[in-house]
Amino acid sequence: MPIPIDFITGALGFLFTVLILSYLIGDNPLFKIAIYLFVGVASGYAAAIIFWQVLYPKLFLPTATIIQTGNYSNAFLLFVPWLGLGFILMKISPRFAGAARITMAFLVGAGAAVTLVGALSGTINPQVMATINFFQGAIHKPTNELIEISFSGGVILLGLVTSLAYFHFGARQKPDGSTKRFVLVDIFAWIGRIFIGITLGVIFAGVYAAALTAFIERVSSLVIFIKTLLGIP
């Protein structure tokens, strides 16, 4: 009778969950074995995915098609990727690792342009406009809503300004050599600490919620596997 694949999966999941949770007792070789094996499997899996889902459909297959069909009119479009691939594979060898800079320069240059435009058009402008427009629709609202919107908008605006001030580290040098921020910036930065603290507190709670969910999911998987073994519904 063949062993069901789900059972094997469940057994593996149970085993590795226990190995990892054994870290709660303390660092131990079982935990290390699980971690090292995980890193190896994850890396190999990612490499296989890259091969099949990136390089094969976008480089190997088109190249093979060109060779098979003999249509070399668009072959130059693949020349640069092959060249870049060759350069970046040279990074494996310390002797020729410098050639990989060419490929990295290509990626960095393109990435800088994309990031720059994205940050400007996707975050800075929309977020600034959203802060301003928060008050836009409040004018025609009833008083209680006007107060609520104005207060909320004011808090958000204050939080935005003071948080930016908190990350502003420019300072003037005093005659005695010490440095001190501008008074207004200093006050804003102090207020910004409150907003940053609140935001980080919320993020902390969110991280804990995510981790707790993962913990529950793993323990539940253990329970389910045991139940399956025991035949408990």
């Binding site: 890259i50 990136v54 323990v219």
Partner: protein, 940 residues
């Protein structure tokens, strides 16, 4: 059994009470020149008659060779190439078994062709030693080309052939270079032909050497060597006219002159035979300069030494070796119990030994000095282990240049007349008993001290044995070359007894020759401190030690070697080479050096014509010239660095057990709660009732999607949060699939995302029976991060032309009619990363048009995605398990799903978090305040 001692010359066994060897008449008693000792005056004029013939001839011929010596200087400018040098005999005396212990630099100096093995074994030891022990500025020397013009050949060989010889550490360098030369050329470093006065040296011995030889006594020393090592040392070749001056010497025998030095002049009467002398043809007459030295020895206080050609210009620039000599000379005046130097431990051994011998004039050998043998370098130990057959006694008078090897303990046996016990013979012959006989004999019988060594009896401190040890310590830290030079200070006169400082001398050569090479009162005691103002500390300390009575006068007029000049003490011993101009200059300044290394020398360091200092060296301030602004900036930088490097106090866990307990408590509670709720499938806690605004908008948008519309699902979460993301997304997708039957197209912007999407659709949504390629499509992994997303946003079909199964994706039903991003009905982003959400929002901002983005996010990413929802860039957010639970209850007809199964444990876990955060936080706050107040009290 009577104690037997071994003759250091012939090796014969002699009773311990014997003063001289019964076989060879060499002195057996320890008469070495000990550290701290000063030579005593002895009238050795009567010994003139017993000078060996070759010395007499040398003295005679020296008178006639002044002019020819000048001519030879031109040729001597070349680097030394042959093996003729002062130390050639040293190498020759090294026993075979000790050859390998001779460092290369010494081998190079000695000119012997060392086996390659010897060169490689200790090639850098000595050189490194000198670098370590000497300061770089301690060795001012002139350039080789200019200097060698007047350098005797033995010195020419020592000098660096490289142009960098005028650097501060050139002394070290030229020793090193000497070593290099040794490696590069088999010929010794000291080429007789290269020496300025050596080319015609086969004709004559320089007068100054003759003079020294005369002072050393005229007693011939027996030579047991089979051949003479000096084949070309021109200044030894007075009697050795059988051999060409430049002929490579054979390093097997001691030169006769050195043997003569080593042997007690008063005891040995053996005439060296021509066969023994090898290349030397023993003259029958004592050289003139030796005679002069001898004569001078008899009337040391009255004689005036001829002026040297190259005086020092300023005491501050006195080379260290000279300072050391001066210091040793001063030390000889002092009580030896007070060690002038405390750096003996750092000194090279051979220098210690030699310094020890310096003090031996006034101290008998002490156990301390013999202990030094343990630190004797091998190369020198090897020198001491010479068998009597190998030992070639010196048959020529020792020159001043031979004085560097005055060490008692480490000098080879051919240099030592120290009696050895048979038991100690093997060791002592190698390492201990290496004092030259011509030094050791001094201690034994003052009458045997050569006149040039015994400058003045009155000034010589008593030779007390107890005083030897401090001197050993003194010399301990001296560099090797300095140790070699150190004994000279003991040889010279006591500065206390200097009388005249400047007396005229006859300008004729004859008168110069008649003047002794060494005389007292050369220094004015008052100026000695100026002379050594810039000495190293260890040397200054020596000077700072309480002097006996008279502070030596500094050398006036000159304090530094001219770049092209020899050390004046060398020139002082070369009266015959003085030209008329210098003679005239010397006549004007016949100062008797009273202190320092040149004590006893007359006119050695005069301010002669052409050698007066033109200007005093500029005094350069060590103070940093910095403006106030620079100082201010520097202080700011210093503060910054100090703040960065200031150690931050890390309070250690005082209660590690308590923290572990806390960890265990948390773990146990979470485990118990989760296990219990999971195992029991409890549904005690209510799912959230209130619908957050962003969740409501998400549901509204989802429900506004047209039927069977293409929907893009971007998956970008890690496997770690698969449980949370699936729990949050499942009810949302379930509701959507159930209501709208959209054609889903999955795309992942992380590697595992594509497979996680496959897992999600095939496991979590298995009930919806969505089929790959029909109702849903998995495009797979989109690499490149922002670049890939931007590319996909601009031209989706170009970025990912095929699906995860490598089928042409854009021809399949799920993507029919879709060629651009804005043709999707909605974009659902399932992510656990705010960064990923930001990227998708940013890069699709200008191309997605009115297509809404709904984000199913992890709880950890929601706070940072919230601003995009507030700005309208994101249509709605489903946040983690909380949102999934709401969706299940509110929008999924209350069907229990994953969120519901997890909710009890989640809710209890949150309550536990509240409990620990507030309760534990308050406790921690109280503990922390108490600790801080306690630490504050401790600080106060």
């Amino acid at each position: 059994m009577a104690e037997m001692i071994q003759c250091p010359v012939c090796g014969a066994e002699n009773p311990s009470d014997q003063k001289v060897c019964q076989r060879c008449q060499s002195p057996l008693a320890d008469a070495s020149f000990q550290p701290g000792q000063s030579p005593v005056h002895k009238d050795t004029g009567e010994l003139e008659a017993i000078l060996p013939q070759w010395l007499r001839d040398a003295r005679e011929s020296a008178k006639e060779t002044d002019e020819s010596a000048e001519d030879s200087k031109v040729e001597a400018a070349k680097p030394a190439a042959s093996g003729m040098d002062l130390l050639a005999g040293l190498q020759s005396q090294a026993g075979d078994e000790d050859d390998e212990e001779i460092p290369d630099w010494l081998a190079s100096i000695t000119g012997s062709a060392e086996p390659p093995k010897q060169k490689t074994e200790e090639p850098e030891v000595s050189g490194t030693h000198w670098v370590e022990t000497g300061k770089t500025g301690d060795f001012p020397q002139s350039g080789p080309s200019a200097e060698e013009g007047e350098v005797p050949d033995w010195l020419a060989g020592l000098q660096s052939p490289q142009p960098g010889a005028d650097e501060k550490d050139e002394l070290t360098d030229w020793f090193r270079e000497t070593n290099n030369e040794q490696e590069s050329q088999p010929a010794p470093s000291f080429d007789a032909s290269a020496a300025p006065s050596s080319a015609p040296a086969s004709e004559e011995t320089p007068d100054w050497l003759k003079q020294m030889a005369a002072d050393a006594g005229e007693q011939p020393v027996s030579s047991t060597s089979e051949e003479t090592p000096f084949g070309g040392s021109d200044w030894f070749d007075q009697g050795g006219q059988q051999e060409p001056a430049a002929e490579p010497f054979e390093p097997t025998d001691t030169p006769d002159w050195l043997k003569q030095m080593a042997a007690d002049a008063s005891t040995s009467e053996q005439e060296p035979s021509a066969s023994d002398a090898g290349s030397f043809d023993m003259p029958s007459e004592t050289p003139d300069w030796l005679s002069q030295m001898s004569a001078r020895a008899g009337s040391m206080e009255e004689e005036k030494a001829p002026e040297t050609a190259h005086p020092f210009e300023e005491s501050a620039e006195t080379p260290d070796w000279l300072k050391q000599m001066s210091a040793d000379s001063n030390a000889a005046e002092e009580e030896q119990s007070s060690a002038p130097f405390d750096i003996s431990a750092d000194a090279p051994d051979w220098f210690n030994e030699m310094s020890g011998n310096t003090g031996a004039v006034e101290q008998e050998q002490t156990p301390a000095s013999s202990d030094k043998s343990t630190e004797t370098p091998d190369w020198l130990s090897g020198l001491g282990g010479v068998s009597s057959e190998e030992a070639a006694p010196f048959e020529e008078s020792a020159s001043a240049e031979s004085e560097p090897f005055l060490s008692t303990d480490d000098l080879p046996s051919w240099l030592s007349s120290e009696p050895e016990t048979p038991a100690s013979k093997p060791e002592a012959s190698k390492k201990v008993d290496s004092t030259p006989r011509w030094l050791q004999d001094e201690g034994e019988a003052k009458s045997n001290v050569p006149a040039w060594l015994s400058s003045d009896e009155k000034t010589a401190p008593s030779q007390d044995e107890d005083e030897a040890a401090p001197q050993d310590e003194i010399s301990g830290d001296m560099p090797d070359w300095l140790k070699a030079a150190a004994p000279k200070s003991s040889i010279f006169d006591d500065p206390k007894n200097e009388t005249d400082t400047a007396e005229s001398q006859p300008q004729e050569d004859s008168s110069l020759r008649s003047a002794p090479a060494f005389s007292e009162n050369a220094f004015s005691s008052d100026s000695s401190e100026d002379l050594f103002t810039e000495m190293p500390d260890w040397l200054s300390d020596a000077i700072d030690k309480p002097q006996s009575s008279v502070v030596p006068e500094p050398i006036t007029g000159s304090d530094a070697l001219a770049p092209d000049a020899l050390p004046s003490w060398v020139e002082a011993m070369r009266p015959a080479e003085q030209n008329p101009i210098m003679a005239a200059a010397n006549a004007a300044d016949q100062t008797m050096e009273s202190s320092g290394a040149l004590a006893g020398l007359q006119g050695v360091l005069p301010s002669g014509v052409g050698f007066n200092p033109t200007s005093k060296p500029k005094a350069y301030s060590l103070k940093l010239n910095a403006s106030n602004e620079q100082v201010k900036h520097a202080s700011i930088l210093e503060q910054v660095l100090a703040a960065e490097t200031a150690p931050e106090m890390i309070t250690s866990e005082k209660s590690l057990g308590a923290s572990r307990t806390l960890r265990w408590v948390i773990t146990s509670l979470l485990l118990i709660v989760t296990l219990a709720t999971s195992f029991l499938n409890t549904q005690i806690f209510s799912t959230p009732v209130g619908v957050p605004r962003e969740l409501g908008f998400a549901v509204a948008v989802e429900q506004a999607i047209p039927e069977n519309a293409p929907v893009l699902v971007a998956v970008d979460y890690e496997a770690a949060r698969a449980g949370e993301m699936e729990a949050a997304a499942a009810p949302f997708f379930d509701n959507m699939l159930l209501l709208k039957h959209p054609r889903l197209t999955f795309i992942a912007s992380n590697e595992v995302g594509a497979i996680l999407a496959e897992r999600f659709i095939t496991k979590t949504l298995v009930q919806r029976n969505y089929q790959s390629g029909v109702t849903y499509l998995n495009l797979g992994y989109l690499s490149g991060g922002q670049l890939g997303i931007r590319s996909f946003a601009q031209q989706p079909w170009n970025s990912i032309p095929r699906d995860i199964a490598n089928q042409p994706a854009w021809e399949l039903p799920p993507l029919q009619g879709v060629t651009s991003l804005d043709q999707f009905a909605a974009i659902i982003l399932v992510t656990d990363s705010a960064e990923s959400a930001r990227t998708w929002v940013e890069q699709t901002q200008d191309v997605r048009g009115a297509v809404p983005i709904i984000v199913v996010s992890s709880a950890q990413a929601t706070p940072m995605i919230q601003p995009y929802f507030d700005s309208g860039q994101v249509a709605g957010i489903v946040s983690g398990l909380y949102g999934g639970a709401i969706l299940e209850k509110q929008y999924n007809n209350g069907l229990p799903g994953t969120a519901r199964n997890y909710w009890d444990a989640y809710s209890i876990g949150m309550l536990l978090a509240v409990l620990f955060t507030f309760g534990g936080g308050l406790v921690s706050l109280g503990l922390g305040m108490r600790e801080r107040s306690a630490s504050r009290e401790e600080e106060e």
